[in-house]
């Protein structure tokens, strides 16, 4: 049961391989084997959302996947977004609105926001709060995160704030 297997995937646009026991969690595999530590682990119970990644284009909790399930998959993590000196629009909005404090939950929020901006109308703040409710943040009280997302939705929809 503990024999390691080869896992090959596309991670943030790059073809990578790693070896892991099949039981290893995808979150641990990404962090400890592929050494992309931007994906955080806050609960390993699928509740907090800190480990949120894009798995074949769809957001998923990497702590609820096994490393073996990543074989052949296309995976994006927070590292696929902008770089420290070249933040993308979502990251810029988070910075502008002070939507992060300790930053531990932030990668998960950024991945969630990158999807909901593409999939949901988010016409009211209420809708934004609902769409974010699968990600926990203990620092911000969510107020500034909601403002950042509102700003991004306005940009997307060409609405003047």
């Amino acid at each position: 049961m503990n024999a390691k297997i080869d896992i090959a995937l596309t991670l943030n646009g790059e073809a990578v391989t790693g070896r892991a026991e099949p039981r290893m969690l995808a979150s641990d595999f990404i962090r400890d084997v592929l050494l992309m530590t931007g994906t955080h682990v806050g609960c390993e119970q699928g509740v907090c959302g800190a480990c949120t990644i894009r798995f074949n284009g769809v957001v998923a909790r990497s702590c609820l996947l096994f490393a073996a399930q990543l074989d052949g998959a296309v995976v994006e993590t927070v590292e696929s977004l902008g770089a420290p000196h070249d933040l993308n629009d979502i990251q810029k909005a988070f910075r502008k609105h002070h939507a992060l404090q300790c930053g531990f939950c932030t990668p998960g929020f950024l991945m969630t926001v990158s999807e909901i901006l593409q999939t949901l109308p988010l016409s009211t703040d209420h809708e934004i709060r609902d769409a974010l409710s699968g990600n926990l943040c203990r620092c911000t009280g969510y107020e500034h995160i909601v403002r950042a997302v509102r700003d991004l939705v306005n940009q997307r929809d060409g609405v003047q704030a």
Binding site: R129, R138, E143
Partner: protein
């Protein structure tokens, strides 16, 4: 954002008038953000070293039991296992004991691994070292511990009874501490008063629940005999000092670093057995050792918060003026008195802050801290004050109801008035001038308070239950050494030393012993240094959270860092600026007083003398021709700041709720905070702290409860059972900043990191009680949940039927 500006009276030392750009008070974008937004932060769990070994702990599944035996032989043969250790393998490490000079205090002895007795579910009993965490856990699962249950009461009142089982031989009657406060004669004042209201209030146990679970990595350099511990901690300085003692290592051979830390809220503010073991094993095995706790471990082994009963009576006259307050506080402190704070921290603060921001001539408060077989309690955001404010503000509303007086009006009458500061309350705390009445007025004005009654009646006619509640409070922040030393703890939390230097390239580095874990100190302290020195915030590198960089310091907690760290930043940078001007005056051949600085340039107004900090640095450090030896001053200053006492921060929170009569779900429909935190360094950061604090307060009021059964088993042991607020339950939060009178400290700052959690529970409890007023139901326990409401209403109906 609702930014009300109130005229200021600047008693504090203002920065000397210059044309230098201002950064204090600006919404400077955070300097820590680019790394935290891109996955390039470095949290403890991200740190790895070659040959790193991993730990898994075996934790007690019994609350109070004798350990009869631990079977480790099988586990030791598991693949990847390097060592399996129990208490006897750490016999050289002294027990953790939190001393205090407080009378009637009995410290407990907490071994790093349970020796022969376990005292709570989750207490570490054995540890496995393996080449990988999965393998370590496999082996840990194979360890069998044989227990003989000893029984104990998980209820603190029962634990005080004569026949209760003692948790510690050295704590007679399970009474860890007892302390009383008295001013005047509350007993006879209550007996003679026209009106008295009373209640028995209960706040349930919480978990600080930082999103990052606790984690530690130690790296031992065998050649240099140097140990480095990276840890998710708020108090690297305290950890270093105590580890040096416990492991018997010189302080200069051990360095504790708090890298990026994913929130703390008090939970990472104590010294833990796990970090001692990680450090000890790295040295013993001469290889790096890592331990990352999982969420279940965090819920059972990180210090917990609150958990007390308050029985209180408030006496007042026909005009609603408070006469006397009397309180009995019982704090359930859990199994051990936590290092370094002691078990006194939380419950004693309940009793000492209970009189609140009001003038109540007579006060008597007694607090007892009781040990029970549960995880130790420690600091949690607000410390004592959420309970104190909840109990008092409920009594205040009950008093208003008794007299049929307006709830804002009864507060207005009793609050310390602007011309009555400083004011000493019955527990001995002294309030300095802060916007007590101004905050109340501003909050009341913001919510259309006078129109609420009408809205409420209208709603009731439509079958909707809505309520409004007020929570007013004051707190002491940025506490200096005279107060910090009073409880007789083994550490000095009352001062901060800053070192600011300009290096040979002209770059500015400012070093502090604070340890930011979300507070934005890399930005706010840089704003202070930048403004005072005349550079840009992004040009200032803030170094903190590393004991290798400072002689002494404790860390970040208790709303201290902006006031004390900020004060040290100002004093130090001013001293450095003097040197800069002296050297520049020499270079320009002008009087140093004529030299100005700003945005990285040093110049003399009205002349063409203008150089950069790099040129100044070159003249001082590298270019041996320009300045004579005597003028080559080291461009570095170090100053200490100790506020001696503390500053008073005040606030009023107003909550509006709607309760669904069918499901009894409680929804927050509005939340307003008016607060006086003095001069703001960065208003956006202040707002963020208030929002985060309020939402934790919402958790306190409506959701969070660590539930234990009668034997001490935790029933809410996951994030699916222990609910914290999500964005869906959190309302939009309006914040009104008042700057009434600036406190007398270098920056005019007041601490504000905890306030949100202090005021919100009371305001929400009062709002829920208001929404249920037509049913005659009061709120005396938090969190209040739909199922508890259901029970309250059912009980009320039952008594009605009986009548």
């Amino acid at each position: 954002m609702n930014d009300a500006a109130i005229p200021k009276d600047t008693r504090s030392a203002p920065a000397p008038e210059t044309s230098r750009p201002k950064y204090i008070g600006e919404r400077v974008q955070r300097l820590e953000d680019p790394r935290l937004l891109t996955g390039t932060g470095r949290y403890t769990a991200d740190i790895r070293f070659e040959r790193m070994a991993h730990l898994a702990f075996v934790r007690s599944d019994q609350a109070h039991a004798r350990i009869l035996g631990i079977e480790t032989d099988d586990a030791a043969t598991f693949p990847g296992v390097i060592a399996v250790l129990t208490a006897q393998d750490f016999s050289e490490i002294p027990d953790l004991v939190a001393p205090s000079r407080m009378k009637n205090y009995h410290p407990t002895h907490c071994p790093v691994l349970a020796r022969d007795t376990v005292r709570y579910v989750g207490e570490p009993v054995a540890v496995v070292v393996a080449s990988d965490r999965y393998l370590a856990e496999d082996a840990a699962n194979a360890i069998v511990v044989d227990y003989e249950p000893l029984g104990a009461s998980s209820d603190p009142a029962a634990a005080l009874l004569g026949d209760a089982v003692f948790l510690h031989d050295e704590v007679p009657g399970n009474l860890v501490l007892e302390r009383s406060f008295a001013t005047g004669d509350a007993g006879s004042a209550i007996a003679g008063a026209a009106h008295v209201v009373e209640g028995r209030f209960r706040l349930r146990r919480k978990s600080p629940m930082a999103m990052e679970p606790r984690a530690y990595v130690a790296d031992y350099d065998r050649g240099r005999d140097a140990l480095t511990l990276y840890g998710a901690t708020q108090i690297p300085g305290v950890v270093r000092d105590e580890l040096a003692k416990l492991l018997n290592i010189a302080g200069n051979r051990i360095r504790v670093i708090a890298p990026d830390v994913g929130g703390g809220f008090g939970g990472k503010g104590s010294l833990y057995p796990e970090e001692i073991i990680v450090a000890a094993l790295a040295r013993r095995l001469a290889r790096p050792v890592k331990y990352v706790s999982d969420r279940l471990e965090d819920l059972t082994s990180t210090s917990q918060g609150f958990d007390e009963y308050v029985e209180a009576r408030l006496a007042f006259d026909d005009d609603g003026m408070f006469i006397a307050l009397d309180a009995e506080v019982i704090g359930d402190i859990g199994a051990y008195s936590i290092y370094p704070w002691t078990a006194a921290l939380e419950p004693v603060q309940v009793a000492s802050f209970l009189p609140g921001p009001y003038k109540t001539p007579h006060y008597r408060g007694r607090v007892r801290g009781v040990c029970t077989p549960k995880p130790p309690t420690g600091p949690y955001r607000g410390v004592g004050r959420p309970m104190a404010v909840f109990a008092l503000e409920r009594l205040v509303d009950m008093a208003a109801e008794t007299l049929d007086m307006d709830r804002a009006e009864i507060r207005r009458r009793n609050l310390v008035q602007p011309d009555e500061f400083p004011h000493r309350i019955g527990s001995g705390i002294i309030w300095n001038h802060s916007g007590f009445t101004e905050c109340l007025d501003a909050a009341v004005k913001a919510v259309d308070y006078s129109g609420f009654k009408e809205r409420q009646l209208l709603a009731l006619e439509q079958g909707r239950w809505i309520g409004l509640g007020i929570g007013s409070y004051a707190e002491l922040t940025g506490i200096g050494s005279r107060i910090a030393v009073a409880p007789g703890m083994p550490i000095n939390t009352g001062n901060e030393t800053a070192t600011v230097r300009i290096d040979a390239t002209g770059a500015v580095i400012a070093t502090f012993a604070t340890a930011s874990h979300g507070q934005s100190l890399e930005t706010t302290l840089a704003q202070i240094v930048a403004e005072e020195l005349g550079v840009r915030p992004q040009d200032v590198q803030i170094v903190q959270g590393d004991t290798g960089m400072t002689a002494h310091g404790t860390g970040t907690y208790a709303s201290r860092s902006a006031v004390i760290g900020g004060g040290a930043a100002i004093l130090t940078t001013r001293a450095l600026l003097k040197k800069v001007k002296r050297v520049a005056g020499r270079l320009f051949d002008v009087d140093p007083d004529r030299v100005e600085t700003g945005d990285g340039e040093i110049y003399v107004p009205g002349t063409n003398h203008r150089i950069g900090f790099d040129e100044l640095a070159r003249a001082v450090y590298s270019d041996m021709a320009t300045l004579p030896l005597a003028a080559r001053e080291t461009l570095e200053s170090q100053e200490n700041y100790d506020p001696v006492l503390g500053t008073t921060t005040s606030s009023t929170h107003i909550a509006e709720v709607e309760i669904d009569p069918e499901t009894l779900s409680i929804r927050l429909t509005r939340f307003v905070v008016a607060e006086d935190c003095g001069r703001m360094i960065n208003p956006q950061v202040v707002d963020g702290q208030v929002h985060g604090g309020v939402v934790q307060g919402i958790g306190v009021a409506l959701l969070e409860e660590l539930e234990f059964d009668a034997t001490g088993q935790l029933l809410s042991a996951s994030l699916a059972d222990y609910l914290i607020p999500t964005s869906a339950e959190s309302p939009h939060i309006e914040v009104i900043h008042l700057e009434t009178v600036l406190p007398d400290n270098p920056g005019g700052f007041r601490g504000m990191g905890e306030g949100g959690t202090i005021g919100a529970p009371a305001a929400i409890a009062n709002a829920v009680a208001d929404a249920l007023a037509h049913l005659g139901i009061g709120i005396s326990e938090l969190p209040i949940t739909p199922s508890k409401l259901h029970r309250l209403i059912a009980a009320k109906n039952l008594t009605k039927d009986r009548e």
